[in-house]
Structures are given as structure tokens and as C-alpha cells.
């Protein structure tokens, strides 16, 4: 109970952080941007995310005792402070957006007369309760919830694709120009965002040297799940219809018939899992934000920073005026995430290398 997480716990934690609100919107984004080759984009996007995770974790492994907050200052000096501030802002904004999209789905499909403010605040309150206890309970919760989350999703989508899927929806094969590949890949990489919490979590691992391995396994699992969901949705609905729906991952459950006669209305099951998916995504992010702030301020405890973050995250969540604007905001924020995955760690590595080799320090 030293508030450190084991390697399997890290894997599970990353998986549950990644599987979040994107699972329902990813098919639509991909169908719109890259048409029948969407499944390929998931694979490429997963590959690029693995690359990003490799960059993030190999930077972190250079400083196994320190978080991004400390080693960025150590290597980049003043710019490090700027990057730290940016990272915290990014994490808080992402938390807010995730909780908003979570709330939108709950409001549209389940609680249509509950104010979205209530949904968002309850979810944040629940996450505060968990995150106050530190990283280990979060990881343990993830361990418990992961099978509950994954098994029904796999079984339900498998039934749908077996009875209603038409794989010819993925023809014609490979007819993308370079631009579309970039757009599609980016859409996938965005839905893998969340593993940049590793920037902060590596010193919390019992064995920081296995961080690269853990993130590889986690991203591989998530890629398989995403691939499976994207293939199912597009095989059942077709490219055009998928791109027209806002939440195709859930809508597909409402229009299938064959499996529906055995278990009608399977969307209810998925929607109850939706809270789990949202919960396990928001908690680590909220924790990462509070933990980051505590490290910036060199405070001994992170707990006192969680509650003040809630109103901030809530305001950010309520800022976009509708779903489409929220999704646009997410895309804008995600550029920042890509920056922190691909650019900043490389800068740090270079600076670190220069300091060690050239300046001999």
C-alpha cells in the first residue's frame, strides 16, 4: 500500500483510460473522413499511438523517479515551466470535454429530462471520491471494472456483426489519397488520447522500466477493440449512414433485428456500461491534473487540489453550446495532446542528451 501500481495494473489503467467516450463517435468520424478504408486507419492510428507511447515512456524512463513536471524544468529550464502549465491546462480541458460528451450521451439516450449540469456534476463528484484515495485505488477500480466493461461490449457487438454485418461495405479497398489517410489517422490517434497521463504516472509505477511494455500492450488491446467496433458499425450500417449518425456506436444497437429478437434493446446494456467507460476515463485524468498541480507547487499532498479542479472542469464542460461544438473543441484540444506526445518529449530527450553529452553535466 505504498501508492504504487504494478505493471498489470498499469496496463489495465491505460486500457480503461483510453476506452472512453470515443468508442461511440469514432466510427462516424472515420466513415466521414476515410470511407471504406476506416478499418485500416484504426490499425495505422494504433501504430502511431504505439510510437507516441514509445516516445513518452522512453523519455519518462530516463527519469524513473521524476514526473514530467520535474524533468521538463530540469532539462528545458524556463520553457519547462511553460510546458508544465500547458500540460495541466490541457488535462483539465480534456477532462471537461470528456465529461461533457459523457453527459451528452446520457442525456440523449437515458435521462432526457435530467439537466446535463446534474449529470456532469454527479459524475465529477464520483470521480473526486475515487481520485482522493490516490493512484492505487484508481488502478484497482480499473482492474475490477475492465472485464465488466469489455465482455458485454464484445459479446453484443459480435452478435450484431454475425447476424447483420455485410463486409462488402468495406469495398472499394485502398482508394485514399494522402490527405484522407492523414485525416483518418489523426481521427484515430485522437481517440487514443489519454495515455499522456503516463507523462506523470511513470514514477508511480513499481517498475518504471516496464512502462513502455505496459503501454504497448494496452494500446494493442484498445486498437483491437476499436477495430472490432468500427468494423461492426460500418458493416451493419454502411458508410453513408454511419457518417450521418452522431453516436453510431449506440445507434447500431437500436436498429438490429436478428439478435434483437433474442435480447431486444441491447442499447440499454451498452448505455449502463457507458457510465463505467466514462468513469474510468475521467478519474485518471482528474487525478493526473491534481497530481500535476501538486508537483508544480511542490506540495506534499495532491488531495487538496482535486476539489478546486471540479468547478474548473465543470465550467469547461459547460462551455460548448452543443454536441457538435464540443466535438470540435475536442479536436482542437487534441492537437495539444499530439504536441505533448510527439514534440515535447522529443525536445526533452534532445535537451537531456545535449546536457549530458555536450555540456557534460
Amino acid at each position: 500500500m505504498n501508492d504504487k501500481i504494478t505493471t498489470p495494473q498499469t496496463i489495465v489503467l491505460i486500457i480503461t483510460t483510453l476506452i472512453g467516450v470515443w468508442i461511440t463517435t469514432l466510427p462516424a468520424t472515420l466513415a466521414e473522413k476515410s470511407g471504406p478504408d476506416s478499418w485500416l486507419m484504426v490499425i495505422i492510428g494504433g501504430g502511431i499511438s504505439v510510437l507516441g507511447a514509445a516516445i513518452v515512456t522512453s523519455t519518462g524512463r530516463q527519469f524513473p523517479e521524476k514526473t514530467f513536471i520535474e524533468y521538463s524544468v530540469e532539462t528545458l529550464g524556463v520553457f519547462g515551466h511553460l510546458f508544465n502549465l500547458g500540460l495541466i491546462i490541457y488535462l483539465v480541458i480534456l477532462t471537461g470535454m470528456v465529461v461533457r460528451i459523457f453527459g451528452e450521451v446520457i442525456k440523449v439516450f437515458l435521462l432526457d429530462r435530467t439537466p446535463i449540469e446534474v449529470i456532469i456534476l454527479t459524475m465529477l463528484a464520483l470521480c473526486v471520491y475515487l481520485t482522493r484515495h490516490g493512484i492505487e485505488p484508481i488502478a484497482r477500480t480499473a482492474e475490477v471494472l475492465l472485464p465488466i466493461l469489455m465482455l458485454p461490449v464484445i459479446i453484443i457487438y459480435l452478435m450484431i456483426i454475425l447476424f447483420n454485418g455485410d463486409l462488402s461495405n468495406f469495398m472499394p479497398f485502398l482508394r485514399l489519397d494522402f490527405k484522407e489517410i492523414i485525416a483518418g489517422t489523426k481521427a484515430t490517434v485522437v481517440s487514443f488520447l489519454g495515455f499522456e497521463v503516463l507523462l506523470l504516472f511513470i514514477p508511480l509505477m513499481q517498475n518504471p522500466h516496464q512502462s513502455t511494455y505496459s503501454s504497448f500492450v494496452a494500446i494493442l488491446m484498445v486498437s483491437i477493440l476499436y477495430l472490432f467496433v468500427v468494423v461492426t458499425v460500418i458493416a451493419v450500417l454502411g458508410i453513408v449512414e454511419t457518417s450521418l449518425l452522431i453516436w453510431p456506436g449506440i445507434s447500431v444497437l437500436r436498429m438490429t433485428e436478428t439478435a434483437g429478437t433474442v435480447f431486444p434493446r441491447m442499447d440499454v446494456v451498452i448505455l449502463s456500461l457507458w457510465s463505467i467507460a466514462g468513469f474510468t476515463t475521467i478519474s485518471p485524468m482528474l487525478f493526473a491534473s491534481a497530481f500535476g498541480i501538486s508537483r508544480i507547487l511542490k506540495a506534499r499532498e495532491f488531495k487538496s487540489f482535486i476539489v478546486p479542479l471540479v468547478p474548473v472542469a465543470y465550467m469547461i464542460a459547460m462551455f460548448p453550446k452543443d454536441v457538435l461544438e464540443a466535438r470540435k473543441a475536442v479536436e482542437a484540444v487534441s492537437n495539444m495532446g499530439l504536441f505533448y506526445i510527439f514534440v515535447v518529449p522529443l525536445l526533452i530527450l534532445t535537451a537531456h542528451w545535449i546536457r549530458r553529452r555536450v555540456l557534460n553535466r
Binding site: 462488402s168 453513408v240 449512414e241 450521418l244 437500436r254 433485428e257
Partner: protein, 382 residues
């Protein structure tokens, strides 16, 4: 320790027994709408529509003796109103209702002929935009007025909706004369082809309805009908046939006088397209099995040569398909057999060049049919 166990028990118990009922709605405060009909209003008010809803009257459904008020005992109640839009009209109906309308069990939507001729696009949006409406509900287009279907007094089933949905359920898998499209499927089809699809046809009579054949939708508007035989001709070509084992009977004139009836099962089709001189030619290969179910011939043979029926039945199927094709190609000029989709999927380069003028090209597309039927069984009599 004991205190903790107690608290845990209380918490688990509370989460089991007191979970989210805070905006509880009593069942009897809700009206479960089973079916919806949409009609156009007569001359002079074309842009208005009439929406008809049916709700079951549970008391009558159970069939309790001695119950019932002064009203005639129909198991369903009709609600009607006129308005400009579907949802707007539904909201007007609520003005006269003491209960809340609940649509999640609505499994059939009927659109009247005149309304469909004016265009489906203005009615269908509400069903795809709101999660209250089931996308697996069946969509019918009615010959005549939709309200006649809803007001029908069926004898076989207490509720009209169960009656017509059951017809479709059996018809589509047994006799292959109705095109079993849910509203979600129709909407998908319309989006993919930009407004061309087939929809189930329903024809109400006094006490029963005929669900067979299909309505041809071109450019979101109803342009005509396909008879049940023509619908089957189209269904042979569609991919849907691959998935279900088809059992349909076909009557055959044999060389000797008299008809033979055959059941067809396990039909599969493979479509290939080739581009010849700038025009696509579709090669459709079909294979299937048949069994004899009735024979009018008086000659009883000790050793029946089943193969002698194979050629005629292949010809019969080919003829049926050709008739249907002729109708959609020459009369309606609308691609409801997904040839355009096939080109888009398997000949994307070619499709890019023709997709603008596909509507004009489709009537001239050649189709080469190759039907292969094996007769495996003749029943339990020689």
C-alpha cells in the same frame, strides 16, 4: 469490523432496492403507441398531414368477460389529428390525452399512398432523429389511406400491428413476396442511393390486409408498385437472399400437361459486373435447391427422373427476374437492385465516371442470368 459489515450491507441493500426511480412514471400513466399512420389531406390542404396512432386497450386485450363499458369492444383505440409535421401533430394529439405518449414499442409505421407520392423525406426525419422511435419498426406504404390499415378490425390477432408484422415475418422467409425492410434499413438505403429504395406494400381490406409486393421509391417519392411476383424477382437478385434460407413455391408447366409446384431452398447469388464498351454488364449466378411439393401429372412413374424439371424451373426463375428487371428498368427507371452500389464497391474507378448519369444509364444496363437449380427431394411419395 462489525460496524463496517453492517454499513456495507446497508449500502449494497440500498443500491439494489433504491436505485434511480426518482422520476418514476406509473405504467398506467403511459400510452404505448403500437402503430402510426401518416396520410396526406385531400385537395386544397396538400401540405398538411393526418397522423393516426393506435394504442391498445389492455382490458379488452385480456378479453375479460363482464368487463367493458358502453363502447364497442375493440382492443385498440385510435387517436387522430392533422397538422403540418409528424411530431407537431403528435404533440397536438397529446392535448386530448390524459396520458403520456410512449413510442418505444411502436413497431409499424404506415404511410398512405398520396402522402408517399409527395415525398418521404419530410416524414422520415423524425424517426431517425429521435431515440424514442425504434429503428427496427417496419415501414409500410399503403395502397389507399393509411388510416384504413390502422382502423382495420382483424380477426386473427387482437391487434393490427401484430397481425401485419407477423405476415411479414413469415412472408419474407417463406414465400418471399414481401421485402422485409425495417424503417432503419429503408432510411439507410435511401441515404446510400440518394432516394431510391423499395418499401413493403400493404393493401387493407375490410377484415384483413395483404402484405405483399413493394412500393418503388424514386428520388424520395413513390412512383409505382411492384406486384408480389415482381418483388420476388427483385429479391432473387438482392444480397439479402444469401442470409435466409428461402422457401418459396413456384408453379411450373411441365412438358406433359399439368403443373408442378416446387419449393426452393438454400438460394445463394453471386453478382459480378464487367465493363464492356463503357457499359456495365451484370452477371448474376444463382444456385439453389428445390423439392417437389405438388404434381398435377396423372402419370405415376416408378422411377422419376427429377432432372427433367430442372431446366423448366431455371427458365421460370429467369423469366421472373427478367420481368421484374424490365419493370424497374423500363417503366420506373430506378435502380432498386443495388447495381450502382455494386459498381461503387467493386468498380470504383468506373463508378466515378458514371455516378452523375447513373439514373440515365441504369435502364440500358444488360443483365446476364445464370440460374442453376438442383432438385433434391420429391417428398414422401413417388
Amino acid at each position: 469490523m462489525k460496524g463496517k459489515v453492517f454499513i456495507l450491507t446497508v449500502l449494497i441493500g440500498a443500491s439494489i432496492f433504491f436505485h434511480g426511480c426518482w422520476n418514476m412514471m406509473d405504467l398506467e400513466k403511459k400510452t404505448f403507441i403500437m402503430m402510426m399512420g401518416i396520410d396526406a389531406l385531400p385537395e386544397g390542404q396538400q401540405d398538411k398531414i393526418k397522423v393516426t396512432l393506435t394504442m391498445p386497450v389492455p382490458r379488452q386485450l385480456v378479453g375479460a368477460e363482464g368487463g367493458g363499458g358502453p363502447r364497442p369492444e375493440t382492443p385498440q383505440q385510435i387517436l387522430q389529428s392533422t397538422g403540418n409535421t409528424v411530431y407537431g401533430t403528435i404533440r397536438q394529439i397529446t392535448n386530448r390525452l390524459s396520458r403520456q405518449l410512449y413510442f418505444e414499442h411502436m413497431t409499424a409505421i404506415v404511410i398512405g399512398e398520396e402522402a408517399a407520392k409527395g415525398g418521404l423525406d419530410r416524414f422520415l426525419d423524425v424517426f431517425q432523429r429521435n431515440k424514442d422511435f425504434l429503428r427496427m419498426a417496419k415501414l409500410y406504404i399503403c395502397e389507399g389511406k393509411a388510416e384504413d390499415v390502422l382502423k382495420m378490425e382483424t380477426e386473427m390477432e387482437p391487434l393490427v400491428v401484430t397481425y401485419i408484422n407477423q405476415i411479414v415475418h413469415f412472408n419474407s422467409s417463406r414465400s418471399l413476396r414481401a421485402i422485409n425492410y425495417s424503417i432503419g434499413k429503408v432510411i439507410t438505403e435511401l441515404h446510400e442511393t440518394n432516394g431510391n429504395s423499395l418499401v413493403m406494400r400493404i393493401r387493407p381490406e375490410k377484415k384483413e390486409a395483404v402484405v405483399a409486393g413493394s412500393a418503388v421509391i424514386k428520388n424520395w417519392k413513390l412512383v409505382g408498385w411492384l406486384s408480389d411476383r415482381e418483388t420476388r424477382g427483385i429479391l432473387w437478385m438482392l444480397k439479402e437472399i444469401n442470409r435466409i434460407s428461402v422457401e418459396t413455391s413456384i408453379e411450373l408447366q411441365t412438358p406433359q400437361k399439368g403443373l408442378v409446384v416446387l419449393d426452393l431452398v438454400n438460394f445463394t447469388n453471386k453478382t459480378k459486373a464487367k465493363i464492356q464498351d463503357g457499359m456495365p454488364v451484370f452477371y448474376i449466378n444463382m444456385r439453389g435447391e428445390a423439392r417437389i411439393v405438388e404434381k398435377e401429372e396423372r402419370i405415376i412413374k416408378k422411377e422419376e427422373n427429377l432432372e427433367r424439371y430442372e431446366k423448366p424451373i431455371e427458365q421460370a426463375i429467369t423469366k421472373e427476374i427478367n420481368n421484374a428487371l424490365q419493370k424497374v428498368q423500363d417503366e420506373y427507371r430506378v435502380d432498386v437492385v443495388n447495381f450502382g452500389e455494386h459498381l461503387r464497391k467493386y468498380h470504383p474507378d468506373y463508378w466515378e465516371t458514371v455516378k452523375e448519369k447513373w439514373d440515365l444509364m441504369f435502364p440500358h444496363v444488360k443483365v446476364v442470368l445464370n440460374v442453376d437449380v438442383k432438385i433434391r427431394r420429391q417428398g414422401i411419395f413417388k
